[in-house]
Subunit: 306 residues, 2 copies
Amino acid sequence: MRPREVKIVEVGPRDGLQNEAAVTLEDRIALVNALSATGLKQIEAGSFVSPKWVPQMAGSDTLFERIERRPGVTYSALTPNLRGFEAAEAAGAQEVAVFGAASEAFSQKNINCSVAESLARFEPVMVAAEEADIRVRGYVSCVLGCPYEGAVAPAKVAEVAHALYAMGCHEISLGDTIGIGTPDKAVAMLEAVAARVPMNALALHFHDTYGQALANVAACLELGVSTIDSAVAGLGGCPYAAGASGNLATEDLVYLLNGLGIRHGVELDALVLAGNQISQRLGRPNGSKVAQALTGRCQTQSASGE
Amino acid sequence: MRPREVKIVEVGPRDGLQNEAAVTLEDRIALVNALSATGLKQIEAGSFVSPKWVPQMAGSDTLFERIERRPGVTYSALTPNLRGFEAAEAAGAQEVAVFGAASEAFSQKNINCSVAESLARFEPVMVAAEEADIRVRGYVSCVLGCPYEGAVAPAKVAEVAHALYAMGCHEISLGDTIGIGTPDKAVAMLEAVAARVPMNALALHFHDTYGQALANVAACLELGVSTIDSAVAGLGGCPYAAGASGNLATEDLVYLLNGLGIRHGVELDALVLAGNQISQRLGRPNGSKVAQALTGRCQTQSASGE
């Protein structure tokens, strides 16, 4: 059931950078351009939200204008509402993303409405996207636990994922927002969702807050999931834990896939370069262990996991 | 086949600290004492090697004298030769460890003799240990790859593991010394070894150089292995990579086991405390992601993985 090929969705420029204080537009453009040279097929490059809420993502229109687009790479953006969608469309985003939570408490605290209300608000985006022939990705957050509610039932995740799929999202990305999952729970959640949404329309989006992301991905690959989100250099953090780790690092994911003989098309060396560059700009250590090892020249004949 | 209970062998005070420049005897004693309060049943506390080779482990006799021993905890030591064994015995080590490599090139470069020669040199230790009724653990290094040879055949690992077992070692710890393994390779290696040594006499000792250690452990648990080595705060490094990650962090392992419902008897909070303390003394960030998250107060109802 393990896939022969995995599509990696690089979310570093959006999910990774949206909590970074010191990021500039130039850094963001340089990062997207560097990532474009690695063989990645999909890069979530920015977010069309109000700069009042997420100042780090301000100027995403300029970013989309100035990046060097590579043929074969899809550049996508988060769009929380119709206004955001229209800006993203005007900027030439090739795919957009909307989001819902699998936790009522999280939805209330985060965007001040119920999960059902939040999904209803995306209806105009879905209509406009269909007219514009732009694909919409749906994110579900808190799929393995919520900072307010604790445990989240797999059935609830499946319900929200199915709702987004039924609304017309072509792909549903299942987010362990606070990174608290472990393999059995990740597998049980994925199984529950896959009973209502086709596996080939599902993606995993795991944060590495407790160091479990790669083990969770490895366990879920056995069920056949074939789209994985990750962020170069493990960019990102946890708003609920100062100093905690961010997203699963793309380099570490690539190393795993190399070792398992699963194709992905990404060049590890170029990825390490891109991650080191942005880490330097942000003045933080590279959060990928593979990058740390390769940069420290732990070179061996099989250091790329192949 | 997954075990109901796992014995964690804490190797931080030995494998973790032996490459640290700034460690003092006081730090080492404080670490062993802090670890003794966590529920850990086995702590590799020191090494009786020549201080010329490993100055960090000098004074292990004093350490064994001064630590506060808890009933039920086994305090063990690495003993490379009869002289080391005698010193360990005199100091009251309750278990000792010898080692062999699964790679001829590594053995030659590291200790200047063949694997077979290295094992023969341990014969006097085995005899003396039997007389003294002290159990001997056998380490096999480079089980998933060698910095000089590259790939290492599972059959070679099985051969060396079996030789140590036949010599009288009660437990064989399989070390991914340079941390380059991925799950399929780890599983294939463990299967090959388990065909020649009983599974309940095997331990995994994985370094996290490429971020794969926990995924590898999770995959191998499915085969029934029930002893795992790890180091609090992910102590240790890779002599072949400046700045690379060290051993699998005990905190992250405990979190995984909690999530899988596998008993281990270790209290996570006490462990995080011990790891933060030694990390502070060494002036380095805590290498455990769980510790980073819990210390940053990413507290949630299921933050301990349970």
